[in-house]
Symmetry: C4
Subunit: 255 residues, 4 copies
């Protein structure tokens, strides 16, 4: 990260953004699960969601304004833009909340493996919850829908993210299928992260063996170096004695 | 493991706990598969299961009491607590038996790969058997259930843990779906462990190459060190001869 | 690649071949999605597709003619031949377009991981799009077909490549099933590439640790070497002084 | 492999066993696919299959008789025994043919990655073909079966081994489900091997980097060693000259 001004901005807005995301998730959950809301209350919640969305958009624009190498920043943060533009599809809005994980994860920096585990479990749980909300929002009033309660939406989420896919429940609307596609990508990533974690745990003894070998090599090199220092000292002593002999030479009976 | 008292406790209760788990599994299997039990016999078996559960709870509490760093121990053993609290969902009770594998595995410590293989095959077999029991227990009397015999439960278990998920059988009850979710997590882990094992086998030649290179380096360093010892000996001999020459100098015709 | 003449041919035809592939994809897409084409227009498009196919066949034959070790080249490029012969199954013709990715990828050679990401996303997107076209072409007029619109074909493609496979849509014709099999192989490869990328990212710190150790070893070896150079210089000085002493010896009062 | 007598036996029976397996596969394929066989011809083919089975059993017993460490050999070849006992389930008999791959693979020993690829493609193709035969054999006359032609059996095989599992076809008999379970294990192994191959290809540059570092270290160590040899030669020359000086000392004017 060679963008010091963006890093400074990140430090300042980490917690406000997390707060916004939590508000967003709470409001969206309320809106989806409480069907008995009056139209007025529903619209009031929509206003809150829109305000949060605008604030997240402002955050994105500030970042671009702060970037030193603007084109490169936009290029390497395509995902941020995508997540920002998702709300065009309403049930995908909530996926933006997943960015919270990144913020929370920055708080526990102790060990790599632990952070990966927290990240994976956190992301999968949040993506799963948000996808269940989104698919329910998209499907429940569609004709021929098989996902009509939050319980069924959660069950569908689990069978999808594990790539089992019984087919007892599946989305039939366009928006529901976009949520499903997102969830499948998350499932593939989940499989990948789990496998890679196990593989890196298996391979940890390679790392330690290599480190051990390197340590021994370094120790022996240090010993060699110490021996050489001794040799040099000895040689200089020899040289000094020879110099003594030479200095005495003029007094040698040359006549 | 910087918890010597817990390690000592483990050594003492390994076999009793294994025995408890086996009793638990046998009683639960009996209770689920033998439908013709009288209500009295059924309740008697329930008492046995509850006693085993209480004993496992005592074991957990003893561990916490023995722990030096209590909060850390609880934090790193969340899974133990979860497995202990599972029986609130009756068909999940039996999953606790899976901890037996850990105990059995401690008995065969010869090689890493062999132990992983035993662990995976053992865990998958046990989780599969227990899940089939659990899902059958949960589903068989539910309206619209597709899993009503132990054979169907086993077949469903296989299609689920392999993430194939034909959808000819699937759970419809809440408890059955919790069992299914557990099984899917096991399936993802299974895929991960199998892949990681194959990858680490493929990469074994990296390890041996690196070890070989380290061995050569060490050999050459030892040879270098031997050469240096020789150089030093030679130098000291030279130095000694020069000292002889110097000692003789005073007798040189200085007049 | 020990085939300089083929490499030269590749450099010359990279862009023309890409152009051909794009034309092919556009024409095939048009032919499949625009159902209201007159029979004459449909046949005209068929002529274009056949011409492109013949040109790709000529390219394949030129490569074999240019190869130094012809049998070996044919043996290691079985996939090229297979892709060329696929059009016997009409809906598979378009899969040939996937070779474009290889050409495009040669243009961005900066970093390995970036190229893998581009390659994977590009290939999956293109294979998915082409498979959706192909399965729609094969299925839509079949009795009992469940894939009859492009939207359904895309949805089926996503559930298949992720290996979720709900079973709400599936091909029933021979050609559709061949497309499906190709897509499943792509799905398995996709899972593999994602997992391997994550694993190699996890293992990147092994690489850097090893590189660090090697760097230290090299630095110390260089220091040792410098010390030895110094020792040698000192020794030569000593030797020179001794030679001086020896040269003076004849003048020594031997009488 | 510390079993020289078994290795010698292997070399002698490799090709005969391959021949037996091919005969077995051909006869089984004929028996399953040609439904119009007279009962007499069907029984004649059964006799051939039984003879091949007995011969494979003899091979297994000979191996055990030749083994130095019999218990260990049986323990590490449980799979061989399992494959031998499978024919109790008739549709599983043909899976024994898969051992052919091992034999064929021994013929092409050039490079590790190539052999893995041949092994995987060969095994998957053979397991798939044999499973399609087996499931067809088991299912086609079962009530409620969805797999009743060889084409459907092949399609089911592909959807199962890729773990997609649409659920449009699935086995309903016990024997068919055992074939399915075997195929699912093959599918999990396939995913694992593909992923591990890609991962090891990605990690190949770690290997080459490490090898490169080791090569540099070795080169520098060899240079150091050469320098030390030079130092030693120089030192011996110095020592020789000193010896000359000392030899002349007695002639020095000590009187």
């Amino acid at each position: 990260m060679d963008e010091p001004r963006i890093a400074a901005w990140d430090r300042r807005v980490d917690w406000p953004l997390t707060g916004l995301a939590v508000v967003f998730l709470a409001v969206y959950t309320w809106q989806v699960l409480q069907r008995s809301l009056s139209p007025g209350a529903h619209e009031a919640l929509d206003v809150v969601l829109t305000v949060v969305w605008v604030l997240l958009g402002v955050d994105y624009l500030v970042r671009i304004a702060l970037a030193r190498r603007r084109r490169r920043y936009v290029g390497t943060h395509v995902l941020d833009l995508l997540i920002l533009l998702l709300p065009v599809l309403r049930p995908l809005r909530a996926l933006r909340v997943v960015t919270v994980i990144g913020v929370l994860n920055r708080q526990l920096r102790d060990d790599f493996r632990g952070r990966v585990a927290v990240y994976v479990v956190g992301t999968v749980t949040l993506v799963g919850f948000v996808s269940a909300l989104g698919v329910l929002d998209a499907e429940r009033d569609a004709p021929g829908a098989t996902i009509t309660t939050f319980g069924e939406a959660l069950w569908w989420t689990i069978t999808t993210i594990s790539t089992v896919g019984y087919g007892d429940r599946y989305p039939v609307t366009f928006e529901g299928r976009v949520v499903a596609a997102t969830l499948m990508i998350a499932g593939i990533a989940l499989l990948g992260v789990v496998t890679a974690s196990i593989a890196s745990w298996f391979l940890a003894n390679i790392r330690s063996t290599a480190a051990e070998a390197a340590r021994i090599t370094e120790d022996e090199l240090r010993a060699t170096s110490a021996q050489l220092t001794e040799v040099l000292a000895e040689l200089r002593a020899v040289s000094g004695r020879l110099a003594e002999l030479e200095r005495d030479r003029p007094t040698r009976p040359s006549a």
